[in-house]
Subunit: 133 residues, 2 copies
């Protein structure tokens, strides 16, 4: 059901665009990660919701739990309008995430080296087989 298309989407549009099930999308709503409006019973998703869904899936690719992603949304949403104490806490969370990402970058770099090595060995083995020795 392609919705009015000013800037809104149906659940199946999003599902097929991002290749997830409607079940998943509803589950993300259940977990307070998405907040579509309703036209009667039917869910109507805004462009913002679409972005959020994209971010959720990105989070998954990085191994984040839905809870963690929700935390990140909180970081992003909280237009920093809190007390000094809250702001310090927010900064701490941000730094924490940043160091975790640094760690991930390291991990990925190592894995890439190993895969490259495996690739080389594989290539050599293929050459052995091809060679007319």
């Amino acid at each position: 059901m392609p919705i009015s298309h000013t800037t809104t989407f149906s659940i199946s549009e999003l599902a097929s665009e991002f290749d997830v099930t409607t079940r998943s999308i509803r589950f993300y709503e259940d977990q307070q990660l998405l907040f579509p409006t309703r036209r009667g019973q039917t869910r109507v998703y805004s462009a913002q919701d679409r972005v959020r869904l994209k971010l959720i899936l990105r989070g998954k690719r990085l191994g984040f739990s839905l809870a963690e992603t929700r935390e990140l949304f909180a970081l992003w949403d909280e237009t920093p309008t809190g007390s000094m104490k809250q702001l310090r806490l927010l900064m701490a969370k941000i730094e924490e995430k940043k160091t975790a990402l640094e760690q991930q970058l390291n991990d990925i770099a190592m894995l890439q080296l190993e895969l490259d090595s495996a690739e080389t060995r594989c290539r050599e083995a293929m050459n052995e087989l091809t060679a007319t020795t």
Copy 2:
């Protein structure tokens, strides 16, 4: 029980070194990711096992399931001594992992930008509060 220490480790040594529970380590064995030898009943871990454990944990940080990590181990182990067909399959798997890692790098880069932005906003908010305006 610090074992003979030529190059072997007890389960609790590994557990405390990597800050995981012994339960987890035993579970990884159950899932065919580790293969400690036995001294009587007791598990004895080699340096190789230790490396594997480290790799398992790295995998977890990258969001890999234990099954995926086991697959990676297979890639690594299979000293490429198979048929051409098998080698091509191996190469395909390696490429697949590599592109997945590229995707992850992209994802991380994006997230880093967003976190930097959040950090900036946070700093500005703190300055607002501090300023004697």
